[in-house]
Each structure stands twice: as structure tokens, then as C-alpha cells.
């Protein structure tokens, strides 16, 4: 606001050649200062994005430092992460970045109908990303991988505490009743999987009652409850892994063993959760924008929403390899 005041002495005939107008004013060298060559909305969006850079850099940086400082960190398959699904979601977000750019170009060219189609495509792709993410979250929850204690079933070590946690679960009244029913069910009324899982469960019950439990025996118990899938593309962590007791009898919800799994769950849900919140905010903005006429007059709004959306894409570009492939 002070800039026009400074430029007042030059406004009399020398407005255009701001740099060479010092002849009339002796030592005073004032020149017109237009401020930043961008609109206020865009400036505010960029300032916001610079705080977002630090926000996500803090989250991602903490994850990397925690991960490499940990004595043990679970492999992606141990926590039922599927690399192809992660790669698919990366592709979906990249596509949505392109569609929002195309919406902006169409709006600037006054092709309002086309801009709206691209904007709708962005909204759908963003929703698809969220849907896939929800499916992935469900895969974690169904295996007892939660970031907090009442739901989370993760134990860190095959020790006495783990054995007693499994025993405590097996001794809950409701579970005792269901186990009794299961024991009494004739084998011909069960599937092949259920029969072998029932046999494995018998072994687990015998092992956790034994007062002289060794670490290896507890590892066997953990493996029967939820086996850690093998690494590599062959031993895919999604559905293709060996069935554990918890998979065959989901009502059991026996404690599981993932060394390093608790810290993994905390960081994974924090990082992807904050990213998902950003995706949801972006989708709300796009839904609101769909109510406007997307012409040159509103191109600024599309540009700012697009900047935000590209940033959300940018964060995922780093999250995907760090979470799924490291």
C-alpha cells in the first residue's frame, strides 16, 4: 500500500520509464514497486503451501528417522501392505493432477463445459483414491493392526507376556463358550481350512498353557495365529499369504506378533491419515467449485485449488515409496 505513495513524485509524466527518471530529482532515486507479480489469493495459497511443506516434511522426516533408528521394522508384507495397490493409487493421484490442470486450461479458454467435466473427473479420481485407501485400512483393521491399544492386537516379542496375552484371550468366558462349540462340531461340518485351523488352535492352546514356554514356542504360536507372509512379489502380502487362525476364525481376535509393528502402525496411520484428511478437504473444494461457472473469471479459484491438489499429489509421491517400498 505504501508503494503508490512512494511513486507519487514520478507520476507526473514519468510513470512508464520508472528506472531512468532520476534527472529531475537530483539524488532521490525512487522507483515504482509493484509488489509480487501474483494475485493475493495465489500468494496466500503459496504461503499456506510453504507451511504445509514443513508440516509434511516433519511427519515424513520423523517417520524416516524413527524407521531407520528402530532395532526392527516390519517389512511391508508383514503389515499386509500391497505394493500394486499403492502403485495404483499413485497412478490415480497423478491422473487427478492432470485433470485439474486440464480443467484450468479449459476454464482459461472459456470452455466452461469441458472445465466442468475435467473438474468432475478430478473429484471422481480423488474419491477413488480415498476408496482404495479405505479398503487398505480395512485390510489392516481386519488383521488387528490398529494404532491404539483397545483394538490393536500387536505384540512386539515372542515372550511370556505374549503367551499370557494369548492365554488370557482364550480364557475369556465368551471365547470359552465358542471354543467349546467349535470343539464339538463334527469335522464333516467344517471346511478343510477350518479343520486344519482347529488343529492349529489345539496346538496353540497346549503351548500357551505350558509353564516352561520358550521364545521359539511362542514364535510358533504367533505363526499359527497370523503367519508373516514371505517377502517379494511371489509372497504377496494381500490375500495370497498363508491362512492363520485369526483369518479362519475372525471372532477369536487372538494377539498377533509383529516385531516393530506398534511404531509402524502409529506412523503409518498418522502419515496416511493426515494425507487422507488433505484429500477430503480437496474433494470438498472441488465439489464447491462444481457449483460455479468455470470460465476465465473463476480461473484463479481453480488455479489455487489446483495448487493445493498438486501438493497433495506431491506428498503421496514421497509417501508411496517410503511406506510401501522401503
Amino acid at each position: 500500500m505504501s508503494s503508490p505513495a512512494l511513486s507519487v513524485p514520478h507520476d507526473h509524466g514519468h510513470h512508464d520509464d520508472g528506472h531512468h527518471d532520476d534527472g529531475h530529482h537530483g539524488h532521490l532515486k525512487l522507483q515504482y514497486q509493484p509488489g509480487l507479480p501474483l494475485s493475493r489469493g495465489k500468494l496466500i495459497m503459496w504461503l499456506f503451501l510453504s507451511t504445509e511443506i514443513m508440516f509434511f516434511a516433519a511427519l515424513l522426516g520423523s517417520y524416516i528417522v524413527l524407521r531407520f533408528g528402530a532395532a526392527v521394522w516390519p517389512k511391508p508384507h508383514h503389515v499386509h501392505l500391497s505394493e500394486p495397490i499403492g502403485a495404483f493409487n499413485t497412478f490415480v493421484l497423478i491422473c487427478s493432477s492432470v485433470t485439474v490442470v486440464l480443467a484450468l486450461e479449459a476454464a482459461r479458454a472459456n470452455k466452461t463445459g469441458l472445465a466442468k467435466i475435467w473438474m468432475l473427473a478430478t473429484l471422481l479420481l480423488g474419491s477413488l483414491f480415498l476408496g482404495v485407501k479405505g479398503y487398505e485400512y480395512q485390510a489392516k483393521f481386519s488383521h488387528g493392526i490398529y494404532p491404539w491399544a483397545p483394538h490393536g492386537l500387536i505384540h512386539e516379542r515372542p515372550d511370556l507376556y505374549y503367551g499370557s496375552a494369548v492365554r488370557a484371550r482364550l480364557e475369556e468366558p465368551a471365547i470359552i463358550d465358542r471354543l467349546k462349540t467349535l470343539d464339538e462340531t463334527p469335522a464333516d461340518q467344517l471346511t478343510e481350512e477350518q479343520v486344519s485351523a482347529r488343529a492349529a488352535l489345539q496346538q496353540v492352546r497346549a503351548l500357551v498353557i505350558d509353564p516352561n514356554q520358550q521364545a521359539f514356542e511362542m514364535a510358533v504360536v504367533a505363526d499359527q495365529i497370523m503367519p508373516l507372509p514371505a517377502e517379494g512379489p511371489g509372497g504377496d502380502g494381500h490375500g495370497g499369504h498363508a491362512q492363520g487362525i485369526n483369518d479362519v476364525f475372525p471372532w477369536l481376535r487372538l494377539p498377533i506378533l509383529i516385531p516393530g509393528g506398534n511404531m509402524w502402525a502409529s506412523t503409518y496411520f498418522l502419515l496416511t491419515g493426515f494425507h487422507a484428511i488433505h484429500v477430503i478437504v480437496g474433494l470438498i473444494v472441488f465439489a464447491v467449485l462444481l457449483g460455479y461457472t468455470l470460465g476465465p473469471k473463476n480461473a484463479g479459484m481453480i488455479e489455487n485449488a489446483g495448487l493445493y491438489w498438486h501438493f497433495v499429489d506431491l506428498v503421496w509421491i514421497f509417501l508411496f515409496p517410503v511406506l510401501y517400498l522401503f
Binding site: I53, V72, G234, F318, P321, L325
Partner: protein
């Protein structure tokens, strides 16, 4: 007020020039190719499976390239004036400082731990035990 809107009009006019469908499609294809590249580290064809550090360095390089493409072209930073450096460079430096400052207390937290904590925290040997316990079952599930 008119003094302030003048430069904006100029910017808007400038923005019209740098777009172009071809450029965006080229960036999109490059991004897809780079995503396939980082996914390649996961495939059986990746030659450095026993040296994860090679894969990590490769993936970070790929991610940084992808990020640069998105920032420069989709976010139009390539065509922006010098203000872009004022916002992005300090933010990036703060981010790097933060990570460095986390290393002594968080990254190296396992150098000295209390006996109590050492008793309950997972060790690499636990993972080995678990893998050995599951060896037979995982093996049989593939046949």
C-alpha cells in the same frame, strides 16, 4: 487500486502462454514412467535385492524427480517470477534442519536404553525366530 491490478493482468496474460496440452501429457507420461520405475524395485527383476540401500537411493531419486516435474509444470513454478525461491527454499531448508535435529534424540534412541525398555522392545532375533517358526507353513502355502 488500479496500480495493483495492473501487474496481475500481466501475469494472467503470461499464464496463457505456457500451458499447452502436449506439455502436460508429456509430464504425465514421464510421471507414469517414473512410478513404474520405483515399482520396478519391488519386482523380481530388480538386481539389487540383497542391497536395500541401492533401492532406497534409487526410489528417493525417482521421487524427487517426480516432485520436481509436478512442482515445475503442474504448479507452474517453472514460469513464475523469483518470489518462488523466497517461499520454497527456506521451507525446504527448515524441513531438512528438522530431520537433522531429530537424529540425535530419535534416530539414535536405541544406543542407550533402560533395562526395562530393552526387555520389552523387539529385536532382530525376534523376527528371525518368527521367520524360522513360519518357514514350513509359508513354504507349503506356495505349493
Amino acid at each position: 487500486m488500479s496500480d495493483q491490478t495492473a501487474p496481475h493482468d500481466h501475469t494472467a496474460g503470461h499464464d496463457h502462454g505456457h500451458g499447452g496440452l502436449g506439455k502436460y501429457i508429456a509430464v504425465f507420461l514421464a510421471l507414469c514412467f517414473l512410478t513404474t520405475m520405483s515399482f520396478f524395485t519391488y519386482s523380481a527383476a530388480w538386481p539389487w535385492r540383497d542391497q536395500p540401500q541401492v533401492g532406497w537411493a534409487f526410489m528417493m531419486a525417482v521421487s524427487c524427480t517426480k516432485a520436481m516435474l509436478v512442482v515445475l509444470f503442474f504448479m507452474h513454478v517453472w514460469w513464475e517470477a523469483n518470489w518462488k525461491y523466497v517461499l520454497t527454499i527456506p521451507a525446504a531448508m527448515m524441513a531438512i534442519f528438522l530431520v537433522i535435529m531429530l537424529i540425535p534424540d530419535v534416530g539414535l534412541r536405541n544406543r542407550m536404553v533402560s533395562q526395562e525398555r530393552a526387555l520389552h522392545m523387539a529385536r532382530p532375533s525376534d523376527l528371525l525366530l518368527l521367520e524360522r517358526a513360519g518357514g514350513g507353513q509359508v513354504e507349503s502355502s506356495h505349493h
